[in-house]
């Protein structure tokens, strides 16, 4: 009998301890503040998963991007395996797009009209067991409400020939200024390409191998991207005009879609902090913001 009471007491103590533990962690939730998307500056996601602008605390997101006043926020929801994209534009109702999968990348076109996102999904592959993943990337046009489903619905051309493969994955959309051209990464049969997409014709053209998570410079002339060497990635910058490719000055392994601070500097997340490095391959990485990820530049 005493044993039963001891057991009940132990269960009660555990429940109370758990409740107190959770209760203590709910106490310091900060109210969401309005971000200033008109002036310059750097947005990022802090360690608690909230968007930060200097001392202002914005919405909770895993990935964030901003351009011309449009803020795109990609986050996991309370529903298992469900991600949502929240897009806020000045003077318009916030838009909410649900996608199943895990948040991975988000980008807004320079004009603030288009939003592109990537989510991870597990279990699409026939081969390879647990831990193999696939990605799905899509684009949304805020002006027309067009939802460019998944890039897998676009027609891909490789070496001048149609490439209808079932194992295609796309990720890392980045937009040009014309709101029609974009770049992304395609993967099939173990290799990756940089692809250029056209929203009008819903076509994709493979340009170059081993380019992941492209990011177009503000002036549209160069692409910063992840170059894979074995199981590690290093940032490179590719000039679109002459195909000149330079590795950047950070040899440490990283996994992010880079973000141009200006036409000479690239920022990126690595080891739970944001660094920047010159885009011409010189210099050395500089710590921009500790305990942060997903850099985005207000312009």
């Amino acid at each position: 009998m005493r044993r039963t009471w001891l057991g009940i007491a132990a269960v009660v103590v555990t429940v109370v301890a758990g409740a107190v533990f959770v209760g203590l962690r709910t106490g310091d939730a900060v109210e969401e503040q309005r971000l200033d998307l008109a002036r310059g500056g750097l947005l990022s996601v802090d360690e608690s998963g909230r968007v930060r602008q200097d001392d202002r605390v914005g919405p909770s997101c895993q990935r964030v991007d901003v351009a011309a006043g449009t803020l795109a926020c990609l986050r996991a929801t309370a529903v298992p395996d469900q991600a949502e994209l929240v897009v806020t534009k000045p003077g318009a109702e916030p838009r909410l797009i649900s996608e199943w999968g895990m948040p991975s990348r988000v980008r807004v076109s320079p004009s603030g009209r288009l939003v592109g996102w990537t989510v991870f999904r597990t279990g699409d592959s026939y081969l390879g067991g647990v831990g193999t993943f696939s990605t799905t990337a899509g684009i949304f046009d805020l002006d027309t409400g067009n939802h460019f489903g998944s890039l897998e619905d676009f027609a891909l051309t490789v070496d001048g020939k149609p490439y209808p493969a079932k194992d295609l994955n796309y990720w890392g959309v980045t937009f040009a200024r014309d709101d029609l051209t974009f770049y992304a990464t395609a993967r099939s049969a173990g290799g990756t390409w940089l692809v250029r997409g056209d929203l009008r014709g819903r076509t994709l053209t493979a340009l170059r191998r081993n380019v992941e998570c492209p990011s177009l410079s503000p002036n549209g002339t160069r692409i910063a991207y992840k170059f894979r060497e074995g199981d590690r990635w290093r940032l490179h910058v590719l000039s679109l005009a002459d195909d000149r490719d330079v590795p950047l000055a950070d040899p440490a392994h990283l996994d992010d879609q880079p973000q141009w601070l200006d036409d000479r500097t690239v920022a990126y997340g690595r080891d739970k902090a944001i660094y920047s490095v010159p885009a011409d391959g010189t210099g050395a990485p500089v710590l921009v913001r500790p305990a942060a990820s997903s850099p985005a530049v207000v312009r």
């Binding site: 132990a10 996991a76 279990g123 592959s125 997340g269």
Partner: protein, 404 residues
């Protein structure tokens, strides 16, 4: 053929409806499994997010962490069964397994972002699962009268599945409430695991049928496979397992052939689990009356029908519902029912070892089946692969009818 007869030492139940009441030990173990599965599935559900956004570990390396442990889990399952018999204390061995898994929930935040450490923690969690499975099932068989085994396992598996369904919902609810606070998820998961250990230690009685220390030797454990009855069961369960395609492929097949939106894919396992949960107990009772091996084979016939539907590529929500219902029924006919069928074939002193042998053979075979199907589907396409597996499964079922 030698079959040990089981005389449970439970007092004879009074005549009437209570004859098939599920023993308190089984309900207790069901509660333990329910709470433990909630705790375990909470962590499983948020682990990818935690690695990428909590720790900044690339998704690329997730594959390196996962899928390493199938073989290790199989070996530990055998070891857990053997030690439960050797010490004559299945409850103590099960407690070690549950305790080990509970401890890992605290180790996650402590492991930091070192991939090696996280891999070790996941491995320890799986080890705990491997160690506890066979002793727990042995306790269920030792506590239950022989004619109620199917139902007892059904009740246990239904509770277990309920926990697995609740886990992810709790985890993502917490993450939303506390904005990406992963330590809170691990903390709550740890508290649940501790409660399960307390319930097992204090409220679940070691079954009266437990035999004392019997100096079981490893040789005797493997000698079990020389018994025609158990050997036939092991071989048939394994050969049927090789002819199953793996859950993920079935779900992808349902989504594709039924033309469901891709967003429906994560919901499909829930449908299977709900059907399994609802049917486990009634089908367990049916197995007690109609014959457990018959029901076990019938479950594979139901699965075969699902494969045929997928190969025929009928489309629509109704077809998806039928296939998922068949998939859930397959689990209800095979999961606990196989244990209920196998346990009378094993002497009490070797019960946990015997059940571990059957389970391990089946789970390794099913893993191999999924790999084979994946290779086949990659080489041909989804539909022909379903058709081919439907044929080989039919051959296996026909061969399985020779097991008595």
């Amino acid at each position: 053929m030698y079959v040990s007869s089981i005389r449970s030492t439970d007092p004879a139940p009074p005549a009437g409806r209570a004859k098939h009441a599920v023993p308190a030990t089984v309900v207790g173990l069901g509660v333990v499994s329910l709470i433990t599965d909630m705790s375990a599935e909470m962590v499983t559900a948020v682990l990818p997010l935690y690695l990428v956004y909590g720790l900044g570990v690339g998704y690329l390396q997730l594959g390196a962490i996962d899928g390493l442990y199938t073989g290790a889990t199989a070996l530990l399952r055998l070891a857990g069964g053997y030690f439960a018999d050797r010490l004559g204390r299945p409850k103590a061995v099960a407690l070690v397994g549950y305790g080990l898994s509970a401890a890992t929930k605290l180790a996650f935040p402590a492991a930091g972002s070192s991939l090696g450490a996280i891999g070790l923690v996941i491995g320890a969690d799986r080890a705990g699962k491997g160690i506890r499975t066979a002793p727990r099932d042995a306790m269920i068989t030792l506590a239950t009268p022989a004619d109620g085994l199917g139902r007892a396992f059904g009740v246990h598996r239904a509770m277990d599945t309920a926990g697995a369904l609740l886990g992810p919902i709790i985890a993502f609810g917490l993450l939303t409430l506390l904005v990406g606070d992963y330590p809170a998820v691990f903390g709550v998961s740890f508290c649940l695991a501790v409660i399960a250990v307390i319930v097992l230690a204090v409220f679940v009685r070691a079954p009266a049928g437990t035999v004392g220390r019997s100096r079981v030797r490893l040789r005797e454990g493997f000698a079990l496979l020389r018994q025609p009855g158990l050997r036939g069961t092991c071989l048939a369960a394994a050969s049927l397992g090789v002819c199953t395609i793996g859950d993920m492929f079935l779900f992808v097949g349902v989504q594709r052939s039924a033309g469901l939106p891709p967003g429906a894919l994560p919901l499909l396992p829930l449908a299977t689990a709900l059907v399994f949960m609802a049917l486990a107990s009634p089908i367990g009772r049916l197995a007690d009356r109609a014959g457990r091996w018959k029901v076990f084979l019938a479950g594979h016939v139901v699965l075969l029908a699902a494969y045929v539907v997928l190969a025929a590529s009928a489309s629509g929500w109704l077809v998806a519902a039928v296939v998922l219902a068949a998939h859930g029924a397959f689990y209800a006919c095979t999961d606990g029912v196989l244990m209920a069928h196998a346990s009378p074939l094993v002497p009490e002193s070797l019960r946990a070892t015997g059940l571990a042998l059957v389970q391990t053979g089946q789970s390794l075979a099913r893993a191999a089946g999924a790999v084979l199907f994946g290779a086949l589907a990659a080489a041909t396409a989804l539909r022909p692969a379903f058709a081919i597996f439907a044929v080989v499964l039919l051959v296996s079922v026909l061969a399985g009818t020779r097991v008595k």
